[in-house]
Each structure stands twice: as structure tokens, then as C-alpha cells.
Amino acid sequence: HEGERGRDGEVKIIYWQAPSILNPYLSGGTKELEAASLIIEPLARYDTDGNLVAWLAEEVPTVANGGVSEDLKTITWKLKPGLVWSDGTPLTSEDVKFSWEYCTAEGGGCAQGEKYLDVVSVDTPDELTAVVNFSVAKPFPYGPFVGAQAPIIQKAQFADCMGPKAPECTDENFGPIGTGPFVVTDFRTNDVFTAVANENYREAGKPAFASVTFKGGGDAAAAGRAVHETGEYDYAWNLQLAPDVLAGMAEAGLGQNVAAFGTSVERILLNQTNVDPALGDQRGVIGNPHPFLTDKSVRQAMSMAIDRALLTEIGYGEFGRLTCNVLPAPAIFASDANDSCLVQDIEGAKGVLEAAGWTDTDGDGFRDKDGIKLSVLYQTSTNAVRQDYQALIKQWWEEIGVETELRNIDASVFFGSDPGSPDTFQKFFADVEMFTNNFDGTDPEAYMAGWTCDQAPQPSNQWQGNNMPRFCSEEYDALRAEMAVTGDINERARLAKAMNDILMQEYIILPLTHRGRNSAHAVSLGGVALNVWDSELWNIADWYRIPG
């Protein structure tokens, strides 16, 4: 697979969600990030194992190589020499600085603001050096300019598009000039874009493909069909399909499924506050405890009743793994203290409930105590696999005497944070809810910080925050505070595991499946290395056509 640039003709990629823009700073959506990663690149990115690799930078700065200051407050990036934009102009540290300015400009609504958190300035001592200064010590200083979320954009192109003017620069947002292997030729929002090989790409002979068509829209099944069964496309992204369906498609022999595991965990959250509509504006407020989910034995029984192996097999097959942690990866953060959850134990669950005094006194098949019936409303977003999960779990819970009512809500509403809507996952006006979350990159600090008491969505904070179960534990909050000031990786791992174990052993969060990302590519497409820590298309420059 060596040869001149553009030798392999066209590669066709299908994403069943279409990118709406090619500027990742204006949309944080995965589809936009990944589409843009063909064009614009960061200084460093993660490889398939989650390790940082230098990309536009010479090397990844660390404390060891002196790139990161001892006080963890500055990080110095050195650009590879001789890099040029696709328009032929040189890439300089000014562009790096500009990318920061662009994202932090007032009124621009940058989606990646968090990446540049605590950055006070970016210095450009010379054309190839960019020094990032933080206001606080950053044990993990690889937010800015790293990964698909924080690429470098060209100052010359975007200089007039700062702040409130950002949305008006349609041409720029649809066709950013980049350093990546491809150059956009035609972008149609929410539909398709085409790009051709970047003549100025830094590596000779790459990319192998002369052009790429990036089509969006439809659904996962259709995308899978296009790769596996009709062979119209070479690469299909994120085929969230039932394993038997995927396997059936693969039988046609044109394509092949690939999977990789990141940090995504499908989980159930158990609400600790009372959401009875009768409470009016006191619904879900801390201080109104849930009538029975505050009883740990109920939560434990509900966890024990679940057959995670079966769920995973039905819903994800080989693209899902069993886990008993909400923090399953990277490996050093993964706890093994909770593995008892792996086996379903209906009888045990019944026993736990019995012991806690939850019995079926009125003979309706569901347990109760002191006039309180174990009856939960179980919500999630609309999605075939989630609905299968719901159906199975409902059956198990009802078996142990917990009445379960299912509800599924349109994703645009469920994951929205419209304070006016009662159906958002943050408001959590239900007893139980289920969704998947993960964290970017490899550092779990921000992720674990989501379950501190002050992160609980409450009316006082317009229902923002990630602690949807409204879990409050002083012990947990203390661990989180400690982690914020700990730099050592092993120590950080210990803290993260401890926090994970609290959540698990309190049964506030019931992890169900460690979800892998699975995509498919044509058997004739070589060089694909599925990456869940960064853009899936991170190495498209290395892709090639297998003759035959």
C-alpha cells in the first residue's frame, strides 16, 4: 500500500447521522467532529489504545521531557517544522493561539469551551512554539489543542469570524482550510460532503484515496446494508444494531464489522428524590427523599434481578462487554470490587426485599411496605436496543415484585436541557432512567466529579448538572476534592476506583453494559484502525484499497 497520493480513487463513507457543519467549535456533535477530522487536525491525538501521540506537534510535551512545567501550569507545544495549510501557507503558532482565541471569544458559543478551561494565555515565542498558560495547576494539561474536539484552525481564514460573527461565516464553517489529508470541495449541510486529497499534505504518498464522499442520513440499518450487503459504501459508522441483525448482514461477505471499547457504559440511575407530581415545584428537590429508592435494599435487589450477560448478548453481542463499574476503562481505573453483579440472582433479590420488610401484603403481585408500593416509572430515550433492555428489565423487576411502567422519550427531548420540559434526563421526573455516558479522552476526573452533591440538577441551578440521581455523600465529595489536587497517575487511579465503588456499592448507578463502538468497513478497505478515544477517521490518511 505504498504509492503516489490519490492512487486508489474514491472512498465512500456513510454516517447515518449527517454532519451539519465542519467547524467542531460550533457544534460538539460526534458526527461533526469526525467529519471535520478529515480536514483539520489537533497538535496531538489519542491512538487506538488511548495513548497520546503527537500529530502536528513534534512530540507530546510531558513533565519528563520538559514540555510541561513542574507546577503543572504551563505546557509548551512545538510544531513540526514545514507544515503548510492546504492553501499552501505555513502553519504557525499564531494559528494555534488563534484557535484558543476563537473558541473563547465572547458570544461565539464555542462548543469546546471546556477544553480551554483555565487557560489564561497562549504565548507564541516563535513561529513553531506555542506556550499555554493555565491559571491553576493542571495535572492533566492535554485539554487545549488535543483530540478531535480541539483542532487548529487557520487564523487567516477565521480572523473575521470571532464571537458573535462566528455563525455568519458559512463558507468558512462549511469549508475550513486545514492541514489534514483532505480538502473539502462541496459541503451540503446535513446531507453529504465531498473532499479531495490535500496536495500539500505533509506525508508523501498519502492519502491513498484521491477523493472521499461522506454521506449522511438514514438509519443504522441502511448504513450497514450499504457496506455489508450492497457494497455501495466502504465505511459505515457506529452501527447500533442488534447483534443478530448485524451478523445477518455480515453474511453477505462484502463487509466486516470492527469494534473497540472506550468508556461508554449503559447504566441505570435510581432517583434519590421524590418526583411525585403532587409535589409541584418541589419535585426532585433534594430534601424530598424518594419513598423507597432511598432504601438501599430495594436498590440492591433491583440490581441483583438484572441479568447483565443476557442483556449484553441481546443488545450488543460481541460489541458489548460485561461490567460492574460505571468507570470501566482505561484499565488502570477499572475496579474489580463489584463483580458480584455479573450473575443474576432473582431469589437473592427477593430475599433482600423480604428481609427489608417489603412484602406483597395486598396480593397484587407487587411488594409494599407501610402503604408504599414498589412501583417505578422507568424512562429512557427512544431507541430499539434500549426498548429491548427496558422490556427485559421490566420482566425481571416485576418478577421480584417491583411494578414497572416504561416510558420512552424522543432523544431530542430527553437529552435536551430545556428547563420547561419535564422529560429531560436531567430533570429526571421518573424513578429510574437509563442512558449511556462516557468521557472524552482518558482522564476520568471531570466524569467522576459529576456525582458530587453540588452537581445535582436542582431548580436552583436550572436543573443543570450531571448528578441526576441527586446522590449526596460527603465521603464521595471528599474523594473528588482530593483528586482535584492529585497529580500522580496511580494515586488518581486509586481515588477514581474508590469513587466508582461508592456509586456501585450504594447501587445508585446500576451499570448494565460496557458498550463498544462498532463500525463496518468493506473488506476491500485496508488500514482501518477503529479508535474510540478520538475520531474514528483519525488515520484516514493511512487507508487504502486492497486490490482484488
Binding site: A221, L241, A242, D244, V245, G248, P277, L310, I314, T382, A384, Q387, D388, Q390, A391, L392, K394, Q395, E405, L406, R407, N408, D410, A411, V413, G420, S421, P422, D423
Partner: protein, 317 residues
């Protein structure tokens, strides 16, 4: 002639009720009779079936998943078949027959209720607009307005505003049922309204309406007695199409993720959920697909037959 026959002659000629006549006329329409038979069958299947076929449609039986329908055993001896699941099971081992029955209950109920709602709304608005000239402009603009309303946001708003109160008042199932029915009903009456309005305007010029006015019949009875019976046949056509549209719209809502909760099978949803596995398990799309199509067809033929049967001119003597 004897006195006896004279007395008999005096008796009003009414040995048969009007409904007998309607039925007799209806019977002559072969399609209508076939349609009615099918509709009765499918209604019984959905309504009474679950009592005879006592399997919980929501019960999962993972060991018995992907069972093929019983007839598969005939030409493929290796097929996984079982008399316990004559129509097969789905990927979670739910019995398809039980689901089709339960789905039929919901689909038929949604279809009928939404259709009745749409027809009642459409007829009321059509009659009012056609009969009262003053209301005409207003009502027709209103019709335009509703025609222009997008169904999806409308349903989202309705869900937001009414789901919790309805759930509190009627329970989760009935609540969402009412919402969906109302959503479909409210967005599909416009065609009926237009047609009825046109017909009423034409009827208003007919002499028998003038005759009724010369008697002093007030507007209310003018409408119920003279206009409505005479616009019955276009209403019937709208109704048959309306039933079909309602069943299909409900399935489209499932496609868009706005339908019933996932543990509520409807024909449309069963069909939609099975499309991905269409090649390996064709029966899963055939059962609900047939149920929908044949119901629509049956209702259409019944509509034709009823239209003829309700028209005294065609019915004859």
C-alpha cells in the same frame, strides 16, 4: 273483497324495518360482505383472542426466541417451530400471535377512535361552514391553518402539556392512547370538512331545504334532519380512508419515535420493529402487514357497501 282484507289493506305497509332493508341491500355487495366478515374476524381475533390465547404479549422467553411460524415446519424440518407459538416469537421470545392480538386491539382502537374524532370534527366544521355563511370564511381559514400545522411539533407539544395530567387521570396506557388519538384526529379532519362544506353548500340550494324552511324548521333540525343524512356518503368515504390513515399514521409515529411506549405493541410498531429482520424472518412483517392492509381493504369495501345500502334510492324496494 272481504272485510278482513280491507282491514289488512289499511295497515301501514311496514312488515320490515328500515335496517332490515339496509342489511338486505348490504348483503348484495359481495366485497362489503367479505370485508365485514374479515373485520368481524379481526376484531374478534383482537378482542376475544387474548382470552382464548392466554399468553402475555409482553412476556419474554429468551430461550424460545426466534421461533418460526408453525407452517415453516412443513418445508423446512430444521426450522425452530413450536405449537406453543403458532405464529412464532420475536427476538426476545415474545409470542407474535399474542402481540398481533394485543397490537390489533390498540391499532383498531386508535384507528376507530381517531377516525370518529376526525369525522365528527370534520363534519361539524364542514356543516357549520357550509350552512352559516358568516362562519364560512373564518372556518375555512382555520382549516387552512390546521392543514399547515406540522404534526410532529404538535404532538410533542401535546405530549408536554397533557401527558402528565392525562396519565394522572386515566393511567399511563389510556393517557397516551388519548393523546395519540387526539393528535391524529386533530390533524386529519380537514379533508372531510372541505368535502362536507361543499356538499352542504350545494344541498342548501336544493328545494327540499327550502321546503323545510317554509315549514319553519329551525337551523339545528335543518342540519340534523335534512343536511346530515344527505352528506352521509362523502362522510362514509372519508371515514373509510380516515380509518386507514389513522392506523398508518400511528405506525409512522412509531417510526418517528413518538408512538406508544415500547411495551405497547401496535400493528404499525410490530411491523416497524421487524423490518430490520425482514429477510431472515419474513413472517414478522407479513403478519402485521397483512393485518393492516386487509383491515384497510375491508373497511373500504364496507364503506362502499354501506354507502349503497344507506341510500334509499339505490336500496329500492
Amino acid at each position: 273483497m272481504t272485510d278482513l282484507t280491507n282491514v289488512e289493506m289499511e295497515v301501514v305497509e311496514k312488515p320490515r324495518s328500515q335496517w332490515r332493508d339496509v342489511w338486505d341491500q348490504f348483503k348484495t355487495h359481495k366485497g362489503a360482505v367479505a370485508g365485514l366478515s374479515f373485520l368481524i374476524f379481526i376484531t374478534l381475533f383482537a378482542a376475544v383472542g387474548p382470552f382464548l390465547w392466554d399468553v402475555d404479549p409482553g412476556r419474554l422467553d429468551i430461550r424460545n426466541k426466534d421461533v418460526r411460524p408453525i407452517y415453516m415446519g412443513l418445508f423446512d424440518s430444521s426450522a425452530k417451530v413450536s405449537w406453543a407459538n403458532p405464529m412464532g416469537t420475536d427476538n426476545l421470545g415474545r409470542d407474535i400471535m399474542a402481540n398481533i392480538m394485543q397490537g390489533g386491539r390498540i391499532s383498531l382502537a386508535v384507528g376507530w377512535t381517531a377516525m370518529v374524532l376526525a369525522v365528527v370534527l370534520g363534519t361539524t366544521i364542514g356543516v357549520l361552514a357550509g350552512y352559516f355563511k358568516r362562519l364560512d370564511g373564518l372556518l375555512m381559514r382555520f382549516t387552512d391553518l390546521v392543514l399547515a400545522l406540522p404534526l410532529l411539533p404538535l404532538l410533542l407539544v401535546m405530549m408536554l402539556l397533557f401527558r402528565d395530567p392525562l396519565r394522572a387521570a386515566f393511567g399511563p396506557e389510556t393517557g397516551i392512547f388519548l393523546l395519540i388519538v387526539a393528535g391524529i384526529g386533530i390533524t386529519s379532519w380537514m379533508q372531510t370538512a372541505r368535502i362536507v362544506r361543499g356538499d352542504v353548500m350545494a344541498l342548501k340550494e336544493r328545494e327540499f331545504v327550502l321546503a323545510a324552511r317554509s315549514i319553519g324548521t329551525p337551523a339545528r333540525r335543518m342540519i340534523t334532519r335534512h343536511l346530515l343524512p344527505n352528506v352521509l356518503s362523502p362522510i362514509m368515504v372519508s371515514a373509510t380512508l380516515g380509518l386507514a390513515t389513522a392506523i398508518i399514521t400511528e405506525s409512522a409515529l412509531s417510526f418517528l419515535g413518538l408512538g406508544f411506549p415500547s411495551d405497547f405493541p401496535t400493528w404499525g410498531k410490530i411491523l416497524f420493529d421487524s423490518v430490520d429482520r425482514m429477510t431472515s424472518f419474513p413472517e414478522r412483517v407479513i403478519w402485521p402487514g397483512l393485518a393492516i392492509s386487509l383491515t384497510v381493504l375491508a373497511v373500504n369495501y364496507i364503506g362502499d357497501g354501506l354507502r349503497d345500502a344507506l341510500d334509499p334510492r339505490i336500496r329500492g324496494h
